[in-house]
Subunit: 353 residues, 2 copies
Amino acid sequence: MELSERKKKVLRCVVELYISTAEPVGSKAVAQMPDMKYSSATIRNEMAEQTTMGYLEQPHTSAGRVPSAAGYRLYVDELMAEYRLSNDEASSINTAIEEKMQRVDKMLEKVARLVSQATQLPAISATSRQGGATVKRYDLILAGENSVILVVMLSTEQVVNKLIKLPLNITDTDLKLLSAVLNAAMTGLHAEEFTAELLQKVMTSAGNAGVLVPVILDFVTETLRHQAGTDMAIAGQSRLLGLPEYRDVDKAQKVLSSMDEEALSNLPAVMQGENGTKVLVGPENVAQELRDTSVVMTKFDIGDGMHGVIGVVGPTRMDYAKVTARLSYFAESLSKLFNKPENSQLPESTENQ
Amino acid sequence: MELSERKKKVLRCVVELYISTAEPVGSKAVAQMPDMKYSSATIRNEMAEQTTMGYLEQPHTSAGRVPSAAGYRLYVDELMAEYRLSNDEASSINTAIEEKMQRVDKMLEKVARLVSQATQLPAISATSRQGGATVKRYDLILAGENSVILVVMLSTEQVVNKLIKLPLNITDTDLKLLSAVLNAAMTGLHAEEFTAELLQKVMTSAGNAGVLVPVILDFVTETLRHQAGTDMAIAGQSRLLGLPEYRDVDKAQKVLSSMDEEALSNLPAVMQGENGTKVLVGPENVAQELRDTSVVMTKFDIGDGMHGVIGVVGPTRMDYAKVTARLSYFAESLSKLFNKPENSQLPESTENQ
DNA sequence: TGTTAGCACTCCTTACCTTTGAGTGCTAAG
DNA sequence: CTTAGCACTCAAAGGTAAGGAGTGCTAACA
């Protein structure tokens, strides 16, 4: 069933007025909108009808209307005007990403912080991967008398290292052998393939430096397992408190602590398969605590089957157009960044001086 | 000037009652405390006197008394009974630390989370170092056709790495030369000593692989600066909202956002030199936003001139005895953990891409 | 038939007033 | 020096009234 043009227009006005004022919207206010050609009485009828249809709600008889979850849904799906980022916004996002992404190990944290800044809402960023990573190569560097640096390159092009202290002296030749053995026997394997038998086999053939094998294996499996899991960061939680709907401390606390906990760590799972930007309006959230909170999230590509998710949490009354636009742009820029490694840091900025 | 025994006893009662009830304390309530041998009238006089002395405050004429900052100070310094952790508490902290500290790069985050759990307050954990780190050695590993792994070992024995993609082919010999040049010219330097002239000099003498120098230099300075600076994590912010003093959303927001921002990143600086556990009561905090919030923090040792700080943020009315006891125990346990090197569970490792 | 002006009605919000009671300071007696 | 007694203070709680934004409905109008 399609709604009439007028219905759509009115609903859209109500949603947008409510988004910007956070107060129930009266027929008069709608009538006063620039290109609204109807009187408040007509709009009153319209709104009454839409209330029975379930798109609007009335807090009490003599109050204005507030969009229902269904109303928001319709708005997001059909009525929302595409928000086009200004060049300023776009380039400020780009330069922010560019500046902050120096250290990848803090990546998630920084992304979350940036997204939160851009949207003025609490933000979450997370990574997850479909399959498991494997090891691509091992290198061993003798560093001083009795320590060796293990450098491991993963199939994801990520490089991790570990400093290992040696109880006894091991020569460079020993390390060369060990390294050769490792690269021959222990590459291309998933976390669960590092078995005790493999350990035995590698240890015996690694000769003198074989004592290092258990430590190395421990480290590698731990790393791979960690890779497979989900890592996440949260930023800007305090922004929630600035919003009128969270003047109610209990409400705010529920939302914030469900962010703190794992309640939202299924965020990447929700995005499984999906592409583009996903909006969960209020009750569409599974978690009970988020019943009157909306979540907007989007995926970005890290390459090699790995992807990340960024999302924000806010009141159902949030500026979906702006938020989705900014989030998508972020995701796009991040994807570019990660998939263009030669270009050391810069995602192609649309139109930057 | 020493206070009389009776004065101390009364003050202590007031503080402890207020800590547990969050309501202004009346003379009657104090008189009813188990070992209080005076009538409410006597205590009334006592409290009136302590009010003029500045240890107590009266929200309004007909209300009970609330400890002032000076009152808390006195309590913390002299009156507070040492809280002894039960075996249960101690061992649960220990097992928590042991279980969670698998990966060092997430260490801060996990410590913060644990501390927050143990104290039921928002917690911060941070690391900082006294001097600045320097680079001890560079290694370059050719990894595939057109990428090279830079491995940098710092004076702190920390190892960091970065994968660099090459636009043109560079031979192993080129890298050997570059590596030699780097190790000769760019070790032992602090972040601020990496000047433009140095860059020029190294670039010219590095021959073919000289193009890599700017990237390397960028990475290294950023890393050193990062080392010198403070790294920190926050957890459990939402717990603040459960406390009656932060029912006022504006107040809560001020505190939370000053945690989010750098306002508290001077936390390690505050601990500079100091040892043991430090309590900052309300206005003793420099930051304006924290005027009616207390901070308790303590240092722990990571070894190699590096130390960490853990702290919690809460209302001036907080259970100082419990909180300081738990915090100290945490710090102690962490110090032990970090200074037991054969316990190989804690590699100093850094991930990079 | 769709649109609009008018109007009575609803009911939340705000302000103001009163009551209540916990807690005080002071005084006088023990 | 301590304590009982008492008048006083003032925030908190509750109740009432005025104000006003917004509605639904009806009737007139294009």
